[in-house]
Amino acid sequence: MKRILSLLRRAPDVHFGPLEQQLLSILWTRGSATVREVVDDGEIKLAYTTVMTTMDRLFKKQILNRVAEGRAFRYSPRYSQAELEKAAVGQTIRRLLGSSATAASLPLSYLVEAVSEHDAGLLDDLQRLLDQKRRELRSEIRGDRRSGDRRSKETR
């Protein structure tokens, strides 16, 4: 939590472009990599310099760590995926609330609306589950009755 809060305080932006996101997901999977390793991996079909510039930008944003390895750098993520996602959500809400004093209540109402929609969806899911169980119970009772009737006919 402290790490996330410090990230929120320090990092100017935790929202990333498509290439930045792609590089981050590669680094989360691999743990660490040099620019050459990322390019040779073949997942990103871009020039070495483009990848190098983007990784350097992520380092300057304090999202990546780097250590010298020969003439190049080995990059590794400073934060886990979950930590960055939490920080991004927190920053979005802070930005919404802080956009202007008069508009502060508006985004919050959107948020409440979104949560309510989520709750309604959850209730619908639970209702479907309940209906399914009720159907199962009814068919079980019918099956029991039928087998009971059959048995009583046989005894007669």
Binding site: S116, D119, L122, L123, L126, Q127, L129, L130, K133, R134, L137
Partner: protein, 319 residues
């Protein structure tokens, strides 16, 4: 001066023990629950309640049964010794702690009573559920500006059902939901909550929340006797949560639905209900009796030496 020292030392021992045990419980309750693994929700709720009130209970027991007698019997009355800085400071802390506890509990009780009077205004008695003890739990039909379904009242709990709940639920769903609320009333869950208010400690919120969840599940278990009942109660939960957002129905009350996060877990638990795994209504407290008896016998047999050791501890505290 002797009386002042006696009170100061007793309060100091109480507060030291209370804080130490509270810290221990607030950090170690999860481990205890994991180790003991109660077989039912009721067992889990009872265990969590026992752990929650353990610091207060044990501190009172040690103070009354050991600290006070050891001081009265073994401390020479003739010495003109002062109270001492440490017992004085700790005694003041203890009085502040107890005062805050009394104030919190009194405030909660006052709010709960005021809310109950408001809800009962214009209400009608529906029926009375007779408890095993012979006392009755009254069920009131109340207006719509009150919680949908709840138990209110500390020493004489009452079940309150709003008009909207009666209209929304089928008779079977309502009956099962009422059984859930009656289970809370029979177990005096509001009184337990009042005890939590009295014995407040900052890091106990998580334990209280866990107790609350387990208590709800225990009440679900008490209300359900068949798979049909389980589905009825699940339907009642969903319908009640559709009636309005889940919000606190007031202090010292037990609503049918107390948190939206628990709803999903409870419904999933109910639709997976299994007759074979229906928890027994009688707990396993029978096994606790020999342990308590052994503790009492040991305490009586070693009482003299315990008192003298306690006196050594209090002497160290006074120094």
């Amino acid at each position: 001066m002797f009386a002042a020292r006696c009170i100061g030392v007793s309060l100091a021992v109480f507060v030291l023990l209370y804080v130490f045990l509270s810290l221990l419980i607030s950090q170690g309750w999860k481990l205890m629950r994991h180790t003991l693994r109660p077989s039912s929700a009721r067992g889990a709720a009872d265990l969590l309640f026992a752990l929650r009130v353990l610091p207060l209970g044990l501190s009172v027991l040690v103070t009354v049964a050991f600290t006070l007698p050891s001081f009265l019997l073994l401390e020479p009355r003739s010495t003109g010794e002062a109270v001492g800085t440490a017992p004085l400071a700790l005694g003041v802390c203890c009085l502040v702690l107890l005062g805050a506890g009394v104030a919190r509990a009194a405030l909660a009780q006052w709010r709960a009573s005021r809310a109950l009077v408001g809800w009962l205004n214009g209400s009608a008695l529906m029926e009375r559920h007779i408890k095993e003890s012979g006392n009755a739990v009254p069920i009131f039909r109340i207006g719509n500006d009150a919680p949908t379904l709840t138990v209110a009242g500390v020493c004489a709990p009452k079940v309150l059902v709003s008009e909207v709940a009666i209209a929304a639920l089928t008779s079977r769903e309502l009956r099962t939901a009422l059984r859930h609320e009656i289970a809370h009333a029979i177990r005096y869950d509001n009184l337990r909550k009042l005890l939590f208010r009295f014995s407040a400690f900052p890091a106990m919120d998580e334990l209280e929340h866990a107790w609350s969840e387990e208590t709800e599940m225990a009440a679900d278990d008490a209300a359900v006797f068949s798979f049909h009942d389980a589905l009825d109660l699940a339907a009642a939960l969903i319908k009640v949560s559709r009636l309005g957002p889940v919000e606190s129905s007031g202090e010292l009350t037990m609503a049918l639905l107390h948190s939206s996060t628990a709803l999903s877990a409870r419904v999933h638990r109910l639709v997976a209900w299994d007759q074979a795994h229906k928890p027994q209504s009688r707990g396993r407290w029978f096994y606790v009796v020999p342990a308590v008896a052994a503790f009492v016998i040991a305490a009586v047999m070693t009482y003299g030496s315990v008192l003298s050791q306690m006196h050594v501890v209090t002497e160290w505290l006074v120094r």
